[in-house]
């Protein structure tokens, strides 16, 4: 599934002609404010959607995403050019989301269900997820599947959910995620494994006990 890896940016006409994110932020730090437009162009969809998957209200999503870009604009001089810009901006975004959760006391984006733990309730799928109804085969069912999937992702413990969002949807490398989450690579891989373990049971994929304990 190597095809899961992504190009670094949605718009990438010619990599040879395209300056790196890090160089771009260096220009911004040096006072070239026009460089900000390019940074925004490269990252606003990713950052907006990353936050959107964690925060329900559109206004809050826009507020938080805006704050991320303002921080980039104001703090470009603090960016360590030896590091990857993508890790830096996602770290800013993650911190903004955490601050939002702390302020509002709400974590879920879609449901009010508490995250499931490792106990037997873990084996009880969400009420609306029953057997193969989760599997979509029409536009309507696809919409329902997306809605249900979002509910399930919300039920993951916070740190596991963050890894899933950064890996599956933002398509960052596990090393980048480790840097963003300030934890060892092995921890990121464990969180991914536990998250997929839960989702496997909730989605009803591979009903029998997994060979890997998944």
């Amino acid at each position: 599934m190597n095809q899961m890896r992504k190009d670094e940016s949605p718009e990438k006409p010619n990599p040879k002609l395209r300056i790196s994110d890090e160089e771009l932020v260096g220009r911004l730090a040096a006072g070239d404010h026009a460089a900000f437009n390019e940074v925004f162009e490269r990252y606003h969809r990713q950052i907006y959607n990353f936050i959107k998957k964690q925060v329900a209200e559109r206004e809050s999503v826009e507020d938080l995403a805006q704050e991320v870009f303002l921080r980039v604009f104001k703090s470009a001089k603090n960016f360590d050019v030896e590091k990857k810009f993508s890790s830096w901006i996602y770290k800013i975004a993650l911190n903004e989301v955490k601050r939002h959760w702390k302020r509002t006391g709400a974590r879920q984006t879609f449901s009010l269900n508490a995250p499931l733990g490792e106990d037997k309730s873990d084996f009880e799928r969400a009420d609306l997820i029953e057997d193969e109804r989760i599997l979509p085969d029409s536009a309507t069912e696809q919409a329902l599947f997306s809605q249900n999937l979002r509910t399930l992702i919300d039920r993951l413990p916070e740190k596991q959910k963050t890894v899933v969002l950064l890996k599956v949807y933002q398509e960052l490398t596990f090393e980048e995620i480790a840097e963003i989450c300030d934890c060892p690579l092995s921890t990121v891989l464990s969180r991914m494994r536990y998250a997929v373990n839960k989702l496997r049971r909730w989605l009803g994929i591979g009903e029998e006990a997994g060979f890997y304990g998944l």
């Binding site: 599934m1 404010h33 995403a65 805006q66 899933v164 991914m192 997994g210 060979f211 998944l214």
Partner: protein
């Protein structure tokens, strides 16, 4: 490489993040181990369903305008 070792690197393998040596070892193991192949297939199925299940949402045009307006305000008055 045995099944337990493959389990430790399976996600990195799936996403193409293994070094070439590990990649080769995992491939060799998968060639002879049906149980690990099945686990890989199931994990890939889950990851594909996750990826395909949530589409990227369009960003409202108002968002760009909001951000740029704030940036211009800061440019005009850095204390803003």
């Amino acid at each position: 490489m045995d099944c337990k070792a493959v389990q430790q690197v399976i996600f990195r393998f799936i996403y193409g993040e293994c070094d070439s040596y590990t990649l080769q070892k995992v491939k060799e193991h998968l060639d002879v181990c049906g149980a690990c192949r099945r686990e890989r297939d199931i994990i890939q199925e889950i990851l594909t369903k996750l990826k395909d299940g949530l589409v990227e949402e369009p960003v409202p045009e108002s968002f760009r305008q909001r951000v740029m307006a704030r940036v211009h305000a800061i440019e005009a008055d850095p204390e803003f």
